[in-house]
Symmetry: C2
Subunit: 332 residues, 2 copies
Amino acid sequence: MNVTIYDVAREANVSMATVSRVVNGNPNVKPATRKKVLDAIERLGYRPNAVARGLASKKTTTVGVIIPDISSIFFAELARGIEDIATMYNYNIILSNSDQNKEKEIHLINSMLGKQVDGLVFMGGKITEDHVREFQNASVPVVLAATVDETHSVPSVNINYEEASYEATKTLFGKGNEHVAFISGPLETNINDQKLSGYYRAIEEQGKSYGDRYVIRGDYTYDSGIEALDQLINMEERPSAVFVASDEMALGVIHGAQDKGLRVPEDVEVFGFDNTRLATMVRPTLSTVVQPMYDIGAVSMRLLTKYMNNEKVEEQNVILPHRNIERNSTKS
Amino acid sequence: MNVTIYDVAREANVSMATVSRVVNGNPNVKPATRKKVLDAIERLGYRPNAVARGLASKKTTTVGVIIPDISSIFFAELARGIEDIATMYNYNIILSNSDQNKEKEIHLINSMLGKQVDGLVFMGGKITEDHVREFQNASVPVVLAATVDETHSVPSVNINYEEASYEATKTLFGKGNEHVAFISGPLETNINDQKLSGYYRAIEEQGKSYGDRYVIRGDYTYDSGIEALDQLINMEERPSAVFVASDEMALGVIHGAQDKGLRVPEDVEVFGFDNTRLATMVRPTLSTVVQPMYDIGAVSMRLLTKYMNNEKVEEQNVILPHRNIERNSTKS
DNA sequence: CTGAAAGCGCTAACAT
DNA sequence: ATGTTAGCGCTTTCAG
């Protein structure tokens, strides 16, 4: 049997209440008794039982984190930001992968609420009404990290994907490209919708009207980037520039092009999205939209702590700044 | 206030015990009453409180996972393996980053034990006596994933790093290279020691006696690969092949070489370690040692479940198979 | 500043 | 097959 608060109390000749006070740093304890208790704790090797504490206090100091796939370089970076801030505020994290699967997501939300987490950070592709309903019934605060809810009814931290996309596309037109293609992510996610409309806006601004002729659907993976390039290369009036919805996919595009004998950026310019570490791990190095993944995670968690502590929050839907960084996959 | 088992009991006109039985799938319940209870649960929106359950049953169905850095592509893959199997066995995971910092590691172990995890998966660089002591005092099982404890006193899942290293180096010599360099990871970790001695064994077998002349210390990062190549290139009798302790660092070596005008593999062959997804995301594609990260994670977790269920385990120190895969960064 | 005592919501004997 | 009843280890009034 493990040593309990009761054992410590006896060993120190005080009541459990007093032990509880010193363990919790309550100032209302005479220094002498505090020391007695501390000694007893030391001697017995007492370690507070967080489960019992959680039951009594209704706080577990753990938050749930639902993530599409922790092995994705993008989400892993987000998770690190979340975890660092959680640690800073003395929370632990329960982490589960959803694979963007709606049933799994709903199930995980409920499972975590069952574990009595004090809050929830949610990352996903598509926020449906069902999601919103779950969040609103949740009894603990929820914040969305790098995932947009069109109704704006759930607190969130994001960048402006539409604007970022618009700017990137515009940059590419600014370099004299006649046609700019867009390799999208999975079509049914909110963020991808935003990216797409940013791309369309830039195109319309150019007075072009080819609609989705140069839009190719990918799934954010390296291989899908290669495949997308295969499609692109066979087009008549092949675009001389391509804006890609993720860095990893952009690497696929670059290598796909190079494998076909095209030079980057001379024959085709490519512009990525995210600025993951991959962007500098390729030749030519990748021009890309800087999305501060770590910060999004960190800010999400910080926002969540505010809700958990009932602090006042200025803005429930935070938009972090983004920027473009030009490297060698685009012409200078 | 949330609805409790007691509320359900009243609503269904049964005792809490019965409700508990149906919630836990105990077969000793008449179908009719089971239905009554299930209906009441549905009507009230009852969700069992895992914390109370944990206190009463002394099982939390959560396991702790201590990982150096979740944003590392290597560890993230391991984590995914762990999480998938955990989910399969109905466990949740509490995940924390240690940055390989010993104090943090010890602190995390204790913090997780305080949370009453049912088991622990530990990943780290160096297992000291202090670590082993903590593990042995732990009262719950612990398994090491992709981290070696030289005393073999803690259950673990690994590959044979010494042998893998030896084979890779030998392969490089087999291609007619006069000198083969080794870019190591941080010197003070057990796994790196094993890799190093595999390299030395291959060298000695060749009758070479240049000791550590061609060993350069890296830290597994891309940039350190680039730096290592800078050092290499200035050596007299520059090696024509280099074995690199991680894929990411190997990409740095390849690009460092290319940036200096060297051709890979013609001027310098490079061989990586891990077979992360990066290995195919570079040109030329990277020859490397295949370390099954996902499987190591999955098997670790599976092993842990065996200990948690008091199942018999055949071998407490599991060695998974590895192999070499030759791509285009080495000559054929 | 300290102690007594009542739960927190559930499981697990033990009865019946 | 179902109900009764002790706890699990801690926090939290409420007294003193």
